[in-house]
Amino acid sequence: MKNFLNKFWKSYSIAVVVLTVGLVLSFLTPRFLKFDNLLNVMTNASLVAIVGLGMTLAIASGNFDLSVGSTAAFAGCIAFSLVPHIGVPASILAGVIAGAVVGLINGLIITELRVPAFIATLGMFTIVRGAALMYTDGKDLTLFGQTGFKVLSGEYLLGIPTPILLAIGIAILLGFMVSQTRFGRHILALGSNFPAAQRSGVPTSRIIWGIFSIVGATAALSGMILSSQVLTANARLATGLELSAIAVVVLGGTALAGGQATMVGTLLGALLIAMINNGLNLLNVPIFYQELTVGVLMLGALAIKMSKGFKLSTLLRRQA
């Protein structure tokens, strides 16, 4: 029983935390549990979750992508600018491809120029933002009156907003990929021990290109959803998205050192942040306290997770 509890805590601590925070919030403010509000929370969570799911792959492989915020803005601008010419579906596809291409460039810089991912994507963080500014001339792109793009953020299936469906769909897809396919296994091998993976015949460069292309594509989706919510795209959108994305991955339980990945964890990590943000809103906490609170809560959650001595069974024993 003790072992089971510890194991359970190790795998599902984030679920326990999400439920606890949910419980507390529902006591503090009755509005929290309203169906509309819950949908709202999940939609906001999905926005970060989608790029977080891609980021999970990068982190599992022992890498980072710091350029996702810029990529999100860039893809949003590309897609919005194309809508009048090629229509909404093709524009969305173009946006995703643009994100994937940015990701592929990241990958190529890492493998061909041998620049560490951290530095490579930090460079692209600025370059891509700059490219988006040049592309848009620094102006807003709006699609007022042309609400077709709302498909990415409006209601879609059984009254469930598209972002939630997308996040769940991508989580299932990437989760399957990591645990069941050769590509996924290679990602974990890379993150676990790069030289060993290389010596085992893992095509390391191709795997890196694949990972970063996927991260770029998920960043693009997140960016376009964000743009579609306000029907505006501009080059300054989604600043700080890279840090939120990394945060939800780590909160979800994927180790920064690489070698393992949990997509469900990332979804829950995103949900936790969104719940806390929403709760603080409902409780009328001024906006500038919110960031601080989220940061402190995140550090707290991580500290509990990291502390070696902490085990659920000891906690229970003390209370008994």
Binding site: T181, R182, L188, A189, P195, A196, A197, S200, V202
Partner: protein, 497 residues
């Protein structure tokens, strides 16, 4: 050593340590006298590391006690142990490569003057500590500029600067050349002469017999025997370690098939020139040489880890252009790297996943991995190599060194190689597993595999190889066959300039 003149410095009584599901230490007694080198030997998993970690304050015992000068002591953390005068020099150094030698020696207790670090004093004291070890290193140099052997000496100097009375050396010679090993053994002896108690943990019995006054053998977490070195010999100790006799000596007679690998005029960067040789099926060709002789580089070049500048490589009559490991594997070359932790095992993955990582393409159904096939394939190799694990889904990092090595070997075999490149195939492996791996390699070549073996342990080469190429400064200095292969003949060639 006159045992009566040396009082007991450290005493371990009925020490027990439980981990979930494992009794790592079971009522172990041990004592260390001042002025002695006391060797602690045993296979991996025998409990040595657990005991050292308790002495170092890293782990706490489940029961039992540790007495220093007759007083029971309890350590809550490594700093406690250091203050009590126990310094442990682990295999992985606790040093900071970016800092200077002196900063490393005085880390966390830098001498200060007026609140600032007193550099002059720190460098002077460091110099003194290093001098005690008879080494002349400028303490202001960054640690990263030193060789591994020198870094190890810095660790010892740090222990001395802490006024350590008990120094524990954990596998101290794992990364040292033969010459450096002798030097270290001298230092261990001279520390003992100054009244320090030295606990010397090693797999290498040759060293143990050279340096130790007494030897303690542990097996499966229990104390097996303690006796003075004079009363013991290698066979007795090995028998106590593994509980059974071990095969020594030369390689068995082998019959060779046709030539599978031909290397002609191979040159690698600045380290290898004009190397040519042939390898037959069923043969083990040893590549011997001191560190930097080029033997390692030949293997790495064949596997595509180093760029070959010139030369022809022919495998089964086909010319190969190998520029990366993937290519090499596809050409049916298998490789077991010399450093398992750095380049062999995938610590976060399971035993199964470690075995199959190179052959997932073959285990595919549509575009995912077929679980049944993967399980079956991994099970085949687990059995073949007798990997001891509670389940194929266990993480490889939870296995003993010997079993991890077998998994890495299994991976290369699963890739279905014709030529196996073995670099230090039993480094960091205990004696029992070593014997098993030797027998396994024997069986593999019997069934027609060709093996290129690089090893810094001459007994290993003598035991396995039927032919040896001796390398020095990047060239083959001589070839020895069968009975000609002895430690002396290899060393004579290896040291000829």
């Amino acid at each position: 050593m006159n045992e009566n003149n040396h009082r007991v410095l450290l005493e371990v009584q009925k020490l027990t340590r439980r981990f979930p599901g494992v009794l790592a230490l079971n009522n172990v007694d041990f004592d260390l006298r001042s002025g002695e080198v006391h060797a602690l030997v045993g296979e991996n998993g025998a409990g040595k590391s657990t005991m050292i970690n308790i002495l170092a304050g890293v782990l706490s015992p489940s029961s039992g006690s540790v007495l220093l000068d007759g007083t029971p002591i309890v350590f809550h953390n490594p700093a406690d142990a250091q203050h009590a005068g126990i310094s442990v020099i682990f295999q992985e150094f606790n040093l900071v490569p970016q800092l200077s030698v002196a900063e490393n020696i005085f880390i966390n207790r830098e001498p200060t003057r007026n609140g600032l670090i007193d550099w002059e004093k720190m460098n002077r004291h460091s110099k003194e500590a290093l001098k005690r070890l008879e080494i002349d290193i400028d303490p202001r140099l960054p640690l990263s500029s030193l060789s591994v052997a020198q870094q190890q000496l810095v660790e010892i100097a740090r222990a001395l600067a802490f006024d350590a009375r008990v120094i524990v050396m954990d596998e101290p010679t794992a990364a040292l050349s033969e010459h450096e090993v002798d030097r270290l053994l001298d230092i261990a002896r001279s520390l003992a002469k100054d009244g320090v108690g030295v606990i010397y943990v090693s797999h290498k019995l040759e060293e143990v017999f050279k340096v130790a006054d007494r030897i303690t053998v542990m097996r499966d977490g229990t104390h097996i025997l303690t006796d003075s070195t004079a009363n013991l010999d290698e066979d007795k100790v090995i028998y106590a370690m593994v509980g059974r006799a071990l095969i020594h000596g030369r390689c068995p007679d082998r019959s060779f098939g046709e030539i599978v690998l031909t290397v002609k005029d191979l040159a690698v960067e600045d380290s290898v020139h004009n190397v040519s040789f042939e390898l037959r099926a069923g043969e083990i060709l040893g590549l011997a040489g001191l560190m930097g002789s080029g033997a390692t580089d030949v293997i790495e070049a064949l596997f595509g880890l180093r760029d070959a500048k010139a030369g022809e490589i022919n495998l089964q009559g086909k010319a190969l252009a190998i520029d990366n490991p993937r290519n090499a594997i596809r050409s049916r070359l298998g490789y077991v790297p010399d450093d398992r932790n750095k380049a062999g095992s995938l610590p976060d993955l399971s035993v199964k996943q470690n075995i199959t990582i190179g052959i997932l393409g073959r285990l595919r159904r549509f575009f995912w991995i077929d679980r049944k096939q993967e399980q079956g394939s991994a099970e085949t190799y687990r059995e073949k190599l007798n990997v001891r694990c509670s389940s194929l889904n266990q993480r490889i990092s939870n296995l003993s060194g010997g079993n991890q090595q077998k998994v890495v070997l299994a991976r290369a075999l699963a890739e279905d190689c014709k030529v196996l490149l073995l670099a230090e195939p039993t480094r960091g492996v205990d004696v029992g597993a070593k014997a098993e791996i030797y027998i396994l390699i024997d069986t593999l070549v019997e069934s027609g595999l060709a093996v290129l073996l690089e090893s810094s342990e001459l007994p290993e080469i003598i035991r396995l190889a039927n032919r040896v190429l001796v390398f020095a400064s990047g060239q083959i200095r001589g070839e020895l066959t069968g009975e000609e292969i002895t430690q002396e003949s290899v060393m004579a060639l290896a040291t000829r300039v």
